[in-house]
Every structure is written in structure tokens, then in C-alpha cells.
Symmetry: C2
């Protein structure tokens, strides 16, 4: 007899305070993978993760890599039954109170109006905890599916050592399919099953022209100015108004989405107004729905994430600075190769400015899902069961390096079952995750495990 | 009987430790005018200045303005004798240990190998203290010239309230000429009497396109990116490689230096190699001496002093940031008007990007000196007396707002007698001032006072 929402809800209600206590512990650790100073916090998060997995009845192995470890938990519900691996990550994006727009302390857990606030609440500690809770309830309800939990700690830096983990863990992994829960819905009433991911090529541009600050009156005009030179490089690479990428050869590496694909994007019910509001965008490059959906789901981008150089404090300090730096990335669409794009980009930047260092920071291949898989259909059914709305199939604009690595190394069917909402503040300030998504998410996962059985 | 170097040297030797004690006090106060948080430090520097002036026998008045006060000291040596006002400033450029390239604590006084280190040592607390010491020795030696010391505390922000000071102080000021000591030599063996100053227009460019950081995977392509837009604005305003300013109408506001002027620049003995080494420039736009001297002395510039936006820490944070900001300035040559240039610049930036704020931070007119004045000839003779080398007459690439204001408000002859060296690190890290310049500077000022008598 299939499980009912009532019996899952009853278990959720019973376990709520224990869940919140664990969620708080895991959220209050600043497990920022991009900043080496947080290495100790990553280690502490690993310890917490091991305890939480064990408390849920999992057998736990911590796989060390050249970088951060991967925590692997196996919940055995029935010997010989199907096994599904749920992928999540416990590392988070950088966040600092009073900077990056954060009004809250990013590593102080807070519950307010049905939302849980802290860096990583939605990306991706909330979905990870939700999947874990579902594994526990599935066992209590006798769902005959074994669940493995793969918790990475380097997703936000492009999963550079995830292949090493898979090589080590392969003999231990029993899963015959993988479900990834690190993607976003279209809106609170529009669940999504992702049909693919954009790839990412992250690059640091660094230009040094002098040893130290110099007085702009004394040297200005004759000295090189690394900021103006860096601005020129950026301006040559991209049309700031349209976003069109002007790196020679780049156009040949991708194709625009077809009319049919864009028709599908529009049919998903994507709302430009909700999108704009959820992300706090005051103005956009375009508000035409075909254009917007194509740009975020099916076209490559060039973005500058940060730029620095010279004087940053109040007023003006009349110097010619010695260096400038920009952190940039390309999002890539299926068919594009990060290595090839890096070669084109590096060659072009060096042709514009021979002194500019072009340092590759991350390279993640794009991913096209096979949505005809029974696991993908099951994910759609599970979301419909839990939230009462049939999900739509859309592309994910973001990138998850581990997905492509799992596809290559494990050769298992992969499905996406994300739980995050656009208003959660992925990578942004005052990130949060809604209780409604946790509750529904547990139901969806329990149902998914049942459907796989 | 004219004074001799021996008798001045004897007085200098006798007063050395008292001088150093006072110099230390005034240097250890972080009197940074650009950063409002340092208001209290400015006030403390005023108190120290008053004590030091009184200890030297000056009658002191502190003139309050809407901004920082101006400290005015009058040393009466002989009633009815000529009076000269020496202009210096006691505010300093921003500096922070571990940032901006500072290896030392910028506000911890240190003496090493004949140099005194701290922010402001050379610009302009050292020259101020040197002039004060000279006024004292001149009195002891019976030089019949009265000396007034004008110590400003807003020079580094463009002297916005110096006119207000002059209006208030005019009835008190007895000076019949002014000497300004806030300029640099060509090299340690090449004293300079400046024949003019470049002007300055400081502007803040600020562009906001969203409320908060957004995930570049979720919004990238459709969202506007304020950094790429700001880079495009900068790249349109200036040719980064040549420094050529491309603001429409700007070319009509100035004329290139004549062949004869440039011949004079070369005849000054300017050495590109020393210049490059003194300022730590690894590469320059050009190393041709006619070009370099023209660019730093007789051509306008457009520089970006600082740029900020998005993520600045380790690694990459894949966001589309909500805002970006650049601190820029134009140096202007005689004939150009900061107000007119601002109008051209603002119009152009707004035509490139209607959302970019264009905020005027400082406007200082350029200044052309009259080098036929007897005071200017006296300054040259005094420097030759003190340092044993005849000074050259060159332009100063920097700007001193107070000079133009004094010219307008006081209508007195103005001469320049700077003491700073290119290697002192004006506006740069680990700023210092050489004992040799102090010792020679005292001699030069005493001689100058005598020549005016």
C-alpha cells in the first residue's frame, strides 16, 4: 500500500525540533570553500555531518581528497533493494555581515515567518538535511529503498577533487541511480525538474604595472594605469548592454536555442515580473520573456563578479595604483567545452594586453539531462505528490561540477529534484529556506524513494 | 653681514632632538582629511600644531571653517619689517598598514638611515616643520623678516574651505608675499622651483542596477552587470594605452606644449630612468623624455584611482553584483576650467549610461606662476645657497587648491620652494622624508627670509 501524505506529515511533525536543532548546527558553521582561512570550519562541518548522518542510522565514511573531504552515508533499509544516491553539498558561498549586502549575521541561525536564515540555508544545506530526514522517515515507514547521501564540500569552487572522491568511493557506492538536489524552482508554485545545467569557466584577470601606489600628479599621464587597462579588456570582451560576448572564435562554439525550445521556455510559465522581483533586479537588459528565458537557460554569458584595484575608502586618493584584478566567468551551454573557451579567452586577452595574467579558476562542463529516464519521471511524480502541482522541465542556469563527473565516472541515471526558490537568495545576502519546502521536500523524497523501490 | 651656513648648521645641531620630538608628535596623528572618521584626529593635530607654533614663539590663531580649521601662526621678528607667509598643510592622504602596499605602521614614527618614516612625512608635515624651525632660527640670528605660518588641514581633499579661511584671516594676515612648500624636486641633486601646477577635477562614478547580489547562474545574461557597464564607460573615456582622453569637446579645452617648452623640460635634466625607479613604475606608457615630461607637466590626464564592485575576497563568488563604483580624476593644465570639464564629462558619461551617477568630488584650477617675480628669484637663490646646486624651473604635475585661492583672495606674489623628493612616496606606501632635506630646507628658508628682508 503506497505511503500517504498524512503518515509522512505525522512523522515530520514529531521530528521537527530534532530536525531544526541539526539544521542550526550545520548552518552555523561558515564552511566557505572559496576562502582558505575557513579550512577549519570545513573540518568542523564534516564532523557535524558525520554525527547527523549517524544519528539518522547511516553508516558513514569520510573520503579524504587533495582538497576538502566528501562525506558519504549509507542508510540500509532493505538488503538487496534498489539503492539511490542523493547528491548535496555542505560548502557555501562567501558571506560577511555588513558586506555583500548582508543585514543579518550570515552564520547565526534564525527562524522567522516560516523561513530559516543563514548562509547555505537553501544552497545547499537545507536540501541536504531534507533528503537526510526523508531517508530516516522512509526507513521508519518501511520503504524498501536504500539511500546513500553524498555530501560534497567543494561544490562552490567547481568540485575540483570530486573525481578523486568517486575513484576512491566507487567500490563502496551501491547506488543504481543518482538524484541531485541543488537546483531552483521557477517560483513557489512552479516546481522544476531540470533538463540540464550550464557549465562554468571561472577566470581571474590580474594586471600589475608598478610596485606601489604613485602620486597621480607626479606620474599621471606617463605611468600606466592598470585599472583603465583592465576596463578596456573587459569592454572588449563583452558588450555591456546586450551581454554579447566578443571573444573571437567564441560564437562558433555554441548555437542559439531553436524556436521550439524557446516556445517550451515560455510554456513553462516563467514570469519576468516574478523573476525580477525575486532577484531584486532594478533594471534588466531585456524584459521580453523569450529573450530572458533564452539568456538564462540556453545562452552563454560573460560576467564580472568582482573588480578591485586602487583606493576603496571614502573620498578620493589621487594615486595611480600598481595593480587591478577582475574575477570573471563564462556560463556555458551544452556543446561548449570550458578548456576550449579558456584557450580562446586567454589568447584574446593576451592579444589585447600582453601583461595581463589570465588564471583559470574553475572549469565545469555543461550538462544535458536525459528526461526520458524513469528516474526523471519518478522525480516529477514525487514533486507532484508532495506539492500538488506538476513540475515543469526547464534548464538550470547554474552549474554543478559534480554532476558531469558523476555521469562520467559512475555511468548511472541522474535525475534532478531541487527544492530551492528564486527568492531564497542563492549566493546573495540574507539567504533563507522555507519550512514549506522542507516539509514538501521530505514528502517528495520519501515518495521518490518509494517509486524507485 | 649675511648669514653663513655654519651658523645655521650650529643651531640645527643644537635643536635636533627637540625638532625630532615635535616631528614625531605631529606625524603620529592620523590626520586623514578624506575619511570623515578621522575628524577627531584632525582636531588633535590642530592642538599639537598650536603647541608647536607657540613653542617657536608664534602668536597663534585657529580659524574655524565649515570644514577643518586652518592654523595660523605669526612670528614677529622685527616690527615693520617685511612679512612672508609660508603655506603648508598638515592633513595627509589615507594609509592603512597591510593595505595600499604599506609595510610599516603608517602612523608610527620611525627614523632609519637618515630618513623619517610615517604618512605625511614628506607631504607635507616635514616641510611644514622645516619652515617652522627656520622661522625660529631666523629670529635667533636676528633676520629682520616676520614669518607667518599657514597650516591647512584640507589640502588633500582640494581645499574646499580655504577661501572661507582667507576671508576670515585677511584682516590678520600681514604678509606681503607667500611661499608654498608642498612640491617635489626632480631628483635628490635637482632642486626645483615650480613654474606652475596642474589643476584637478575629482569625480565619483557610481552605478547601481539591482538591490543585492544575485546568483550569476540564475540571472546571468538577463540581469545588467554594473561592473561591465562601468568598464565600458571608463574604456570610452580614455584610451588606456596612450592615455588620450576621448570625452567629446575635451580636446578644445587645452593646447599641447610648444616645442620650446618641451625643449626646456628636457633641459631641466629630467631622467626617465630615475623617475621610473623613484616611483616604482615597472612599465610606462612611453619612455621618451619629451613625451614623459610633456605628459606629467603640460598635458591633462584621466586616471582611475580606485574601482570597486562585487566580490573581493579569495577565489570566485559567482554573483551578478548590484553596484560598481570608480574614483576618477582629470589633471588639468593652465587654461582649463574644472567646472567646464565637469560639464563635458558628466554629459558624456550620461550619454553612455543614463543610470550612472556622476558626482563631483573636487575641483582645483591649474596655476601658472610668474617666475619673473623677485620672490621667485630669491627662492632659487636660497635653494642654491642651501644645497649647492642651482634649481631648475619646471612645472609641478600635482595640484594645490589653496594656491589659486590665495592668488585670487590675497593678490600677493607667490613663490614655490618645495623640499620633497620623488622617492619620498608622496601618496604612496612607506612615505618618508630625508634628514638631508630638513637640514638643507632650514638653511634655504632662513636664507630666503634674509633675502626678503
Amino acid at each position: 500500500m503506497p505511503i500517504t501524505t498524512a503518515e509522512v506529515e505525522e512523522r515530520i511533525a514529531r521530528g521537527r525540533s530534532e530536525f531544526i536543532a541539526g539544521f542550526r548546527r550545520v548552518l552555523e558553521g561558515p564552511s566557505i570553500s572559496a576562502i582558505p582561512d575557513h579550512k577549519k570550519d570545513i573540518e568542523e562541518t564534516v564532523r557535524i555531518a558525520v554525527e547527523l548522518l549517524r544519528a539518522a542510522g547511516a553508516e558513514v565514511t569520510v573520503f579524504e581528497t587533495r582538497g576538502n573531504p566528501v562525506v558519504f552515508g549509507h542508510v540500509e533499509n532493505k538488503k538487496g533493494a534498489p539503492t539511490v544516491a542523493v547528491y548535496n553539498h555542505l560548502d557555501v558561498q562567501p558571506a560577511l555581515k555588513g558586506r555583500d549586502g548582508w543585514l543579518r549575521d550570515p552564520f547565526k541561525f534564525a527562524e522567522e515567518n516560516g523561513r530559516f536564515y543563514a548562509r547555505g540555508a537553501s544552497d545547499d544545506k537545507g536540501p541536504a538535511m531534507t533528503a537526510l530526514w526523508a531517508a530516516r522517515i522512509a526507513r521508519e515507514l518501511g520503504v524498501p529503498t536504500n539511500v546513500e547521501l553524498i555530501w560534497e564540500l567543494e561544490e562552490e569552487i567547481g568540485s575540483p577533487n570530486f573525481a578523486e572522491f568517486l575513484d576512491k568511493a566507487k567500490p563502496v557506492i551501491q547506488a543504481d541511480s543518482v538524484v541531485v538536489s541543488d537546483t531552483q524552482w521557477l517560483a513557489a508554485d512552479r516546481p522544476v525538474v531540470s533538463r540540464g545545467l550550464r557549465g562554468l569557466l571561472g577566470v581571474l584577470l590580474r594586471l600589475r604595472t608598478a610596485q606601489k601606489d604613485a602620486h597621480s600628479g607626479a606620474v599621471g599621464g606617463a605611468a600606466r594605469n592598470p585599472i583603465t587597462e583592465l576596463c578596456e579588456i573587459v569592454a572588449n570582451c563583452v558588450d555591456a548592454r546586450t551581454g554579447k560576448i566578443n571573444v573571437p572564435g567564441f560564437e562558433r562554439t555554441w548555437s542559439a536555442p531553436t524556436r521550439e525550445q524557446v516556445d517550451d521556455f515560455v510554456a513553462s510559465g516563467f514570469s519576468v515580473a516574478s523573476f525580477k522581483a525575486a532577484h531584486g533586479l532594478q533594471r534588466m537588459r531585456t524584459e521580453e520573456v523569450r529573450e530572458v528565458t533564452s539568456r538564462i537557460w540556453a545562452m552563454p554569458t560573460f560576467e564580472v563578479h568582482g573588480i578591485a584595484g586602487g583606493y576603496q575608502d571614502a573620498g578620493i586618493k589621487t594615486i595611480v595604483p600598481p595593480w587591478a584584478e577582475a574575477k570573471v566567468s563564462f556560463r556555458l551551454v551544452p556543446g561548449q567545452d570550458p578548456g576550449e573557451v579558456f584557450t580562446l579567452f586567454e589568447r584574446y586577452v593576451r592579444s589585447l594586453n600582453a601583461d595581463c595574467e589570465v588564471i583559470k579558476e574553475a572549469g565545469l562542463a555543461p550538462y544535458a539531462a536525459d528526461i526520458s529516464l524513469p528516474q526523471v519521471k519518478a522525480a516529477a511524480e514525487a514533486l507532484a505528490f508532495a506539492f500538488g502541482v506538476r513540475p515543469v522541465f526547464t534548464m538550470e542556469g547554474g552549474s554543478i561540477g559534480a554532476v558531469v563527473t558523476m555521469q562520467k565516472k559512475l555511468s548511472l541515471p541522474i535525475a534532478f529534484m531541487g527544492l530551492s526558490l528564486p527568492e531564497d537568495g542563492y549566493h546573495g545576502p540574507d539567504e533563507s529556506f522555507a519550512w514549506r519546502q522542507i516539509e514538501g521536500g521530505v514528502k517528495a523524497f520519501v515518495k521518490y524513494f518509494e517509486l524507485l523501490a
